[in-house]
């Protein structure tokens, strides 16, 4: 008795689910949209791929032991980019040393303690600072840390890099802490844990992966900045180790200087340095992604 009933219901249901009448038009639209999305995606990825390949082809041949270990010589006859490598490895860490505490503390403040209005003001200021052309930041630091001493110096370079890093770190910190569930804060506060302790021991550790991501991305960004260093660290052909009161070189400055020279050897060194810089930035980015892979917060 029930079999024909069930069968007809099933057939009817299947017909409805497969939707024969509307199916063909929908399939066409679907295919069209998919294709458009794919093209757009390719347009985004293509330049990245092109740059990677271009720099690799030109730079990989120039990357050798001399480039990594020797100071530059006149006209690019031998020698290397040690001055720039050493400079980047000193100025960026100092910049991070300045920017991480400020940026993280600022992000924690905005996320955990600031009222709605103060939060909006700081957030807006940070966003504006991100948008300020980096050469203006260089000029600003030049006015305060170079002019008074009548001396280009690496410290000014680090400060301008820090100014570029701070808003990035602040915003990611704030966003990552915003992802920490409210219930965790409440759970901690309900135990009679003071607010500051809750933030320090529960909220920040939970969002730490995300904060580190922000820090590393800011570091990668600072490594590639050229303009803010032009008026501050200036660049130098000498390998400056530890003297932040004097000019210092950096990889982007080295690339900029050498790429402008008429001599092929120097251009080659610029390519080598470019490849090296790209490699470092790429490694940082990939490391960050790998670290946070599959995590709920900061992934």
């Amino acid at each position: 008795m029930t079999t024909p009933m069930a069968a007809s219901t099933e057939a009817a249901t299947r017909a409805r689910l497969t939707g024969r009448r509307t199916a063909s038009r929908r399939a066409v639209t679907d295919r069209l949209m998919r294709t458009l999305a794919l093209v757009a995606t390719l347009l985004c990825v293509l330049p990245l791929g092109a740059v990677l390949i271009f720099v690799t082809i030109n730079g990989i041949g120039a990357l050798n032991i001399d480039l990594l270990t020797k100071a530059p010589r006149a006209l690019g006859n031998g020698g290397g980019a040690l001055n720039a490598i050493a400079g980047t490895l000193q100025m960026v860490p100092l910049a991070a040393l300045i920017a991480v505490p400020v940026g993280v503390a600022g992000g924690v403040y905005v996320s955990e303690f600031a009222g709605a209005r103060a939060g909006r003001v700081v957030r807006f200021a940070a966003d504006v600072l991100v948008g300020v052309p980096s050469i203006l930041i260089g000029l600003f630091v030049f006015t305060f840390l170079v002019l008074p001493f009548k001396q280009f110096n690496a410290f000014a370079g680090s400060v301008s890099l820090a100014l570029i890093m701070v808003p990035v770190i602040l915003r990611t910190t704030e966003e990552m802490l915003g992802l920490v569930p409210r219930s965790l804060r409440e759970g901690a506060l309900a135990l009679g844990i003071p607010v500051w302790r809750t933030v320090l021991s529960v909220v920040i550790p939970t969002g730490l992966g995300g904060i580190l991501t922000g820090v590393m991305l800011a570091v990668a960004r600072a490594m590639g900045e050229t303009a803010p260093l032009l008026f501050t660290a200036l660049g130098s052909r000498l390998v400056n180790v530890g003297d932040f009161g004097r000019p210092m070189d950096a990889l982007p400055l080295f690339i900029y200087m050498n790429a402008r020279q008429p001599y092929e050897a120097q251009n080659q060194q610029a390519w080598g340095a470019a490849f090296l810089l790209m490699l470092i930035v790429l490694i940082i980015n990939v490391a960050v992604r790998a670290r946070t892979w599959g995590r709920q917060i900061g992934g």
Partner: protein, 300 residues
């Protein structure tokens, strides 16, 4: 601690005790001064005395004129339809409501006679005495089971390191979780099942040695067996602690609680206390039609 004897009596008997019935039976005005003023029976002074409590979110009144005396060392259930302000009410008892900006409270809540809203009361200290367990288990994801249990103790900096091991074991035992986790205390708290996580959260609350534990639908995210374990646990904890539990589950309220408060919502959407009394009476012989409709499942 003068309340010990009569209250535990109340807890053991689990029948409508005359004093409790009397002080809560009629409408509000009596509740005001009934407690402690019972001539015949030396009525226990309540652990929590709530008077004229109104709670506002901005201009919206979520809770209206609640008067309630919650006896110590017993389980008090709060039931009522969704949105009637049960959670809101519960959170005002340990000032968790202050975490929501724009929230305002009128009236008084007294813990052993001390006004918890007094200007010199530190909400942080209050919450060490009046702990809370939430609807969704919320173990700290960056901490091990061990660290979760002692989080409150450690982060309030009150105990020596050497005491921690003992606190972990005794808290987990009291939360009926010890045998399940004793071999993996270093594992992450979030690696446990939902029910275990909730008992971990209860252990965490017990570790700071509170006197009152507020539970907001502590079993609603759990399966029936895990729920049963939580209920058994509540029955045990009742000997030592004052428990206030919000629940949507009538059977649960009937099973675990000594007295029940029924909240409802007025026309202005403000929640108010309809009726408070021994659980057995609320469920078998409610004084108000609203209560009867609700507990019999005809409304809400």
């Amino acid at each position: 601690m003068a309340i010990k004897t009569p209250v535990s009596l109340n807890g053991v008997l689990n029948v409508p005790e005359p004093a409790a019935a009397d002080r809560s039976a009629p409408a509000r005005p009596e509740t005001f001064d009934a407690v402690g003023a019972m001539p015949a029976q030396p009525a226990p002074s309540p652990k929590l005395q709530i008077r004229g409590l109104n709670v506002f979110y901005g201009t919206f009144r979520a809770v209206r004129d609640v008067d309630l005396a919650i006896p110590g060392r017993s389980v008090t259930a709060i039931i009522g339809p969704s949105g009637c302000g049960k959670s809101t009410f519960l959170r005002t008892l340990n000032r968790m409501h202050e975490l929501v900006p724009g929230t305002r409270v009128e009236g008084s809540v007294r813990l052993d006679g001390a006004d918890v809203y007094a200007t010199d009361v530190d909400p942080v200290e209050l919450r060490r005495v009046v702990g809370m367990v939430f609807q969704r288990p919320n173990p700290f994801p960056t901490m091990s089971i061990y660290d979760n249990v002692v989080a409150g103790v450690r982060l309030t900096g009150r105990r020596a390191k050497s005491e921690l091991d003992g606190i972990v074991e005794s808290s987990l035992r009291r939360a009926a979780l010890w045998s399940e986790v004793k071999d993996k205390l270093k594992e992450n708290g979030t690696s446990l099942s939902g029910g275990q996580q909730q008992r971990l959260c209860i252990a965490r609350a017990l570790a700071v040695d509170p006197e009152v534990i507020l539970m907001d639908e502590p079993a609603s995210a759990l399966d029936p067996i895990a729920t049963l374990r939580i209920e058994e646990l509540i029955a045990e904890l009742r000997e030592t602690y004052t428990i206030v539990i919000v629940t949507h589950n009538m059977q649960q309220a009937a099973r675990v609680s000594d007295q029940t408060a029924f909240f409802s919502m007025g026309d202005d959407r403000a929640g108010y206390l309809v009726e408070f009394g021994p659980t057995s009476r609320i469920f078998t012989n409610p004084l108000h039609q609203l209560t009867e409709d609700y507990v019999s499942g005809r409304f809400g």
